[in-house]
Structure formats: C-alpha cells, structure tokens
Amino acid sequence: MNKVTENLRKTAAKLLQDKEVDLVIGYGLGSEAVRTQPVFVTSPEDVEKLVWNPFCVNGLTKYLSDLKTHPGKIAVVVKGCDSRGIWRLTQDNIIPRDKVVVIGIPCAGQLSYPKLASKIDVSGQLNDVEEKGEDIVIKTTKGDFTVKRSEVALDKCAACEHHNPVVADHVVGDSINAAPTPDSYDEVKKFEEMSAEEKAKFWLGQFSRCIRCYACRNTCPGCTCRECVFDTIKPDWVGKEVNIEENELFHLTRAFHLAGRCVDCGECDRVCPMDIPIRLLNKKLLKDCKELFSMDTPGSAEEGGSVLGQYRLEDPEEFM
C-alpha cells in the first residue's frame, strides 16, 4: 500500500469519526487490475475501500451535484483537474462551499485504461503499483508488468495546468513541483486551418456516431441544470431523435452551454462510448473565450463565474 492511500484512509477515517462529514466519495479498486471505481464510504470501518493509484481517472465532483440535497457534509477526493469542478459547482450555486470537504491529491498524471489493456493482461486484480520514474510496475494476480508512463498516460495529462488541486481542505500526498504545462491548443489550431468541407466531413462523421446516451452531460461538473433542455418533453424544445442533424444540434448546444464555463477536465472525452472527441469542441470555445475575454481556465479560482454571464464595458464586440 502506498503512502498516499494510507494517509487518505487516515484522513477519511478521522473526518468520519469526528462526524465532520457523513460521506466520503473516493476511488476504490475496480473490476480489473487497472481500473478504479467511485466508492461512497459512510463509516470509519469502511475506509479500507479507499485507494489511490495511477488509475484514478474518474472525476468525482459531479456526484456533489447529484447529492446536493444530502443532509450532511460530504468529503470528496479530487485531483488537480477535477478540483476546478469544485469551483464550477460553488460558482454556479449548485452546492455551498461549506457543505463540502475537499481532499486534494497532487497528481503526476493518470494512465489510460484502453492503452494499458492493449499492452498487458489487465484481467487480474491489483496487488500493488510501483512508480519508478518513467517505469511503472503493475503487480496483479495475473502477473507483474512493467510499462512506460509515456506510452500509457492519458492523452489529457500531456498538458496539465494544475498538478496540485486548486482547492483542498486536506492535502494528501506531496505536492508536485513539475511546472504546469498549459494547453497550447495546437489541435484546435490544426482544425481551424482546415477548409470548411474538411471540417464538415470530420465533424459530421463524429456526430453521426453519437448514440445520445448523454454520458458526456452526466459526468460534466458544468452540466447541472435542474431540468436539461435535452430531457424536456413539455415544451419539446429540441428533437430527441438519433440522427445526424439532431446529434449536431445536441453537440453544438451542449458545447455552447459550457462556453466560458467548461473547466477542461476532459471527462466528456473519456466517458464517450463512441469515442467522439467532444472535448475538442469545448477546447475551441475555451481558446476563443481566453482570446476574447482574457480569462483563466474556468474553475481555477474561487471567484470568477462565467465570462458569458457577465458584462464589462471593455468586452470585445466582434460584429458591431
């Protein structure tokens, strides 16, 4: 067991024992060696279920939105990228800050399940993980495997703005000194330079595969409308059919609802069962909002809100 897991369990046990919180949301071992799953711990005896390893890919902040009517206080485990979701939720008045205890874990980058599964036998259960610089030794009941971090890291971790959480009441683990590597938006720029036909071909190809499962919406800490426009039947604002026109409308509406609010955690990309690069839409809007309104990545600070929800005299007016 690694030190972070040990400290995490101690912190969680203390919070529960002192009755400071009555629920801790964290990561537990998953169905396969290199998976974790969210666990909800309600008693100090159960903190053994909590783990920290390089497979803690899920963002857990969205559960706070689902649990906003929970009577007691809730502790939630966050990484740097997820922690921006805390400020998203408090700025949107989804949950008051004093109802949440944030357990922050500095994160050096997480590993991608599909990449690992293509390299090693992941079907066993995890015994231990050792990180030796670039090499990661994964010890499972089906044998030990050594992989190179650069070959199995999550794509999103290549550019990381916050290795250390932007908000944490308790920090578990040593802070990471690696310099932040803000996104250069190279991929967005590449798309911007394509011709209209090329872009249309690419995006219609992507949208046509969407099955409208709404996993992207459900995992997003910015998608917290009490009633989502895509669920509403009376009035029937938007079509529910799964076809290319309706799918495009869904994706563009969803992206625009998050313009200037998306915290860039990349969860939409990760959860999509059809591998649609949803984050690439949000990234375009992030890039534009940063250029037009010189904003930071949303959720980076307690104060802020959304640039499209505010008015300043010096706001640019492109088309006037």
């Binding site: 798309f191 209209a196 995006w203 495009e248 839409l281 375009k284 534009d288």
Partner: protein, 50 residues
C-alpha cells in the same frame, strides 16, 4: 457561436449576427441586403444532403 459553427464546417458567412436597434431602419435594410447577397453567392446549404 459564429466561431463554433465555422469550426465544425459551416462556410464563413453562412451564419451572421448583427446588433441593430429598432430605430436603425436604414442599417437593418442595408445589413439584410448584404447578408442576403452573400448567402445567395454561397448557394444552398448542402451540409446534410450527401
């Protein structure tokens, strides 16, 4: 919105947004004329008719 639509492959000029007051009749007429001409030059939207 215009930037997002062009990002997913709508031709530049297909979507337009202008801010015109109810008292700016001439500006409204001129803008409508220009936009109509530009869109006629683009031709029908063939985006979904492949």
């Amino acid at each position: 919105m215009k930037r997002l639509l062009e990002y997913v492959g709508y031709e530049p000029g297909r979507f337009n947004a202008r801010w015109i007051s109810g008292s700016e009749a001439q500006k409204w007429a001129d803008t409508t004329k220009v936009i109509t001409e530009n869109i006629q030059a683009l031709g029908p939207n063939k985006r979904f008719s492949k």
